[in-house]
């Protein structure tokens, strides 16, 4: 009896499934059409858009304004997005799919700006600069999410942790008259909530969505209680100094990039530091390998001597630290006082940014910046005397979040053991 090996072509492993590839490609083509039909065709040919390339009030890293013919620019933006969409349909971008979707989204927003500002001028650099600032809580929320989820804990209470931290930071900062004490106070309160989340989810194995909800309700109630009981009665409890802009030497003088990235307050720099630390720690160190193994296959980790429970507590606490920084940003880095419910869903949007960024720090930063840009366009829209009601622009981040959730979760990107308590036999 002779045998021959039967060669059978088998499954292709896709980074992006064909269905998603198709859906995303079509969306990109639709974006191109939108830019073309709604924006480009509604602008008369001779109008120009002037982009101011230096944020107001800054004299480092100045750059001349850019003046461009509105319609022609819109045509080219539509063309590029169309090309992206067609390439996506025909060949696909593989692992870079989400990146290209992000670029298409960015171009859509740019096109919107060009269209709105046709015949007039808009401070693009100022918008980008505020986009970076608005991205801080979202990105830190995403980092907080990564730290919890990479070790297997779903943390939907980032919102609550941020809210609590924003209030505590105000009080601690106002009382001590020291902004750093304020920051630490915010972190401490967030970590405390993280510990409760950890005990509920890890020790008592409560459904992680419920334990997160408990913390969200608790934070909303507690901050409301303290705000009404004390902050509104005693105003000097709610008057912290704010972290000032700190231009980084040399870097801040780079045209465009300098004012946008390197002439910001400490929170922006912290966001970049955490990004680098997280990226290196998770993927290049022993700690990171063990940490991720707990989120992927806790039982395997356990049989190799890794303490699953301890690792998860560490992850939840670190998640709390980062969420605390993100919370302190609201009061110490952005507004300068606490208002009830001021986080306005940023913690949840951060989770969406994490998902869009494939549970990777760098990807999450990109997603966070995109959300921040959408936010900053929304808040600057009134300056452009737009026909679109401001409430609708304010919906944009929430709508984008839903679109991201609907379209960009592929199987097998999320940590495999996420959401499951570890039961030692």
């Amino acid at each position: 009896m002779t045998t021959s090996t039967n060669t059978i072509e088998h499954k292709v492993i896709h980074d992006v499934s064909p269905t998603r590839k198709l859906a995303i490609g079509i969306s990109e083509v639709l974006i191109a059409l939108l830019i073309f039909v709604v924006f480009a065709l509604n602008v008369s040919g001779e109008l120009t858009t002037r982009f101011v390339m230096t944020p107001g009030g800054i004299n480092q890293g100045t750059m001349p304004d850019i003046v461009m013919p509105s319609q022609l620019t819109l045509f080219s933006l539509a063309g590029i997005v169309l090309a992206i969409g067609i390439f996506q349909l025909v060949k696909g971008f593989g692992k870079q799919t989400n990146l290209m979707v992000g670029i298409a989204g960015l171009f859509l927003m740019l096109a919107f700006l060009v269209w709105q500002a046709a015949g007039t001028s808009v401070n693009l650099a100022g918008m980008l600069s505020s986009a970076v600032l608005l991205a801080v809580p979202i990105t830190l929320g995403a980092f907080s999410g990564i730290l919890a989820e990479r070790c297997g804990i779903v943390n939907i209470s980032i919102e609550g942790m941020m809210l609590m931290a924003s209030m505590t930071a105000t009080i601690a900062g106002s009382l001590s008259k020291n902004i750093w004490v304020g920051l630490l106070g915010g972190i401490a309160s967030s970590v405390l909530l993280a510990l409760i989340l950890g005990v509920l989810s890890i020790k008592f194995k409560v459904n992680q969505t419920i334990s997160g909800t408990v913390i969200n309700i608790f934070s909303a109630g507690m901050t409301g209680f303290i705000s009404q009981k004390f902050l509104q009665m005693i105003p000097h409890l709610n008057q912290p100094t704010m972290f000032p802009r700190v231009p980084l030497p040399l870097l801040a003088d780079i045209p465009l990039i300098g004012p946008i990235l390197f002439n910001q307050n400490i929170f922006v720099y912290l966001m970049f530091i955490i990004l680098i630390v997280l990226q290196v720690a998770l993927f290049q160190t022993r700690w990171g390998l063990r940490f991720r193994s707990v989120g992927e296959h806790p039982k395997a980790a356990d049989t190799l001597g890794i303490d699953v429970i301890k690792t998860r507590y560490i992850g939840v606490i670190l998640s709390g630290v980062v969420a605390g920084i993100g919370g302190a940003f609201f009061t110490l880095g952005s507004v300068g006082r606490f208002d009830e419910g001021m986080t306005a869903g940023k913690g949840f949007i951060g989770l969406a940014a994490m998902i869009f960024g494939n549970w990777m720090p760098l990807g999450s930063l990109g997603a966070g910046l995109l959300f921040g840009f959408a936010d900053s366009i929304g808040s600057k829209l009134s300056l452009l005397r737009s026909v679109i009601p401001p409430q609708f622009m304010a919906m944009a981040p929430y709508l984008i979040t839903m679109i991201v959730l609907a379209g960009f979760i592929g199987k097998g990107q999320a940590p495999a053991a996420e959401g499951e308590p570890y039961e030692k036999e």
């Binding site: 009896m1 002779t2 045998t3 021959s4 090996t5 039967n6 059978i8 088998h10 499954k11 292709v12 492993i13 896709h14 499934s17 064909p18 269905t19 290049q284 160190t285 022993r286 700690w287 390998l289 063990r290 991720r292 193994s293 992927e296 296959h297 039982k299 395997a300 980790a301 356990d302 049989t303 190799l304 001597g305 890794i306 199987k411 097998g412 495999a416 036999e425």
Partner: protein
Amino acid sequence: MAPILELKGITKRFPGVLANDHIDLTLNKGEILALLGENGAGKSTLMNILYGLYKPDEGEILINGEKVVINSPIDAIEQGVGMVHQHFMLIPVFTVTENVMLGNESIKGPGFLDRDKAAQRITEISDRFNLQVNPNFYVKDIPVGVQQRVEIIKLLYRDAEILIFDEPTAVLTPQEADELFKIMRLLVEQGKSIIFITHKLREVLEISDRIMVIRRGAMVGETTPQEADKSSLAAMMVGREVELEVEKSVSKPGEVVCSIEDLVVVDKRDEICLQGVSLDVHAGEIVGVAGVQGNGQTELVYAITGLLRNTSGMVTILGQDTTRFSPRQITELGTAHIPEDRQQDGLVLPFTVAENLVLCTYYQEPFSKGVLLQYPVIMRNAEKLIEDFDIRTPSAMTSVGTLSGGNQQKVIIARELSRPIKFLVASQPTRGLDVGSIEYIHNQIVKKRDEGAGVLLVSPELDEIMELSDRIAVMYRGQILAIVPNQGISKEYIGLLMAGVVPEGPVPIGESTVVEATF
């Protein structure tokens, strides 16, 4: 010289169960000891104690003649004990190197991973034991057989001297199993010692130096492959003489009840899992689908029962094109489906026995009138089926989750077989059950065939397929490589097909006709 491992009087109680009853066991250096027993006999408990996952209530463990305490897998690893788990302890999104080094990492500087150094060591080990593993591949991208070798490398990387293999052949083709046996031989030749846990008699006789049989938590006998044969081992394992074959008459195939033509299925992750499958099932015959798990059997069953949409091709059941039918429409035609995962697919565990018994039919008369459920009728139905199918349950209102696995399966069997069906799809109907339940379920299936139903039986247990089927279809990577009548076909022939090798020449009927019971 003291034996490398000695277990003395190991006892472990779980609530209501004596899982291990004063078990003594010795393992000599350089031997392969087979630990044979039925599902649930206590083999795994014993090995989990040795591996530090459970704590024994009584008894002691001696390694090289010295008493040791093993409280965790770490202790076990430090004592040189390693285990290849039945369900691999590998992380698919990590590379082979990362998986192997995890917990025992090579580092440079302050905690930075030194992947190259670890990879080099893995290559050395791989070469020494002829394991052929590339350390840089992601585990998700390598075949199951290689994944198992990664597990072995994990142990050797940690200098394990005693290797426990827990049902290692369950996921392998017969050929891959032979490869594994060669590796095991090489390991003992180089001085390692192996405990091999299994319930497959053939493998025990083939590979082991010594055999210990465990039954209901107690060690019931020790023998060697030279002294024992299959029936004596089977009797020792089950505690009574067992019929190694189901009594069954020659089939009388009637008309086609289910016809599959050129079926192509792409799963939800858009991976092709069936590519052009064609198969007919006739009334009054059992068609067995053999194949290593994960070669498209599940998808085939899902496509037939309407749980998965096909991309192209056609399924015809009882003369109707059911390709676009919903599962309910297919059920209503007279199809029954015993799912492979009874707890996930077959039952709603918190619901009562009565509710589970009408899970597919609750919306029909007489169980409901209009939208109103008729609980008295549902209860009467339950009481009758509990009686007829001998379901051991305190009452019809007991929730199914509290019943034993065998009785849970009986609930499904009762629900599916009590209906007037013409076509039965049974997917791994005896997975994880004890011998008594297996015999019962096999008899029920054969009875249904004799009543004139067509049966499609899917099982990764080749023995079960060969025992029950009238015809055997072998699946490999989403294709049916051959369909052969089950008359004196050799196991080796099917095994080759399962490995994707199509033997040339005529089907060798009448070579060896070994059929053994499936435990």
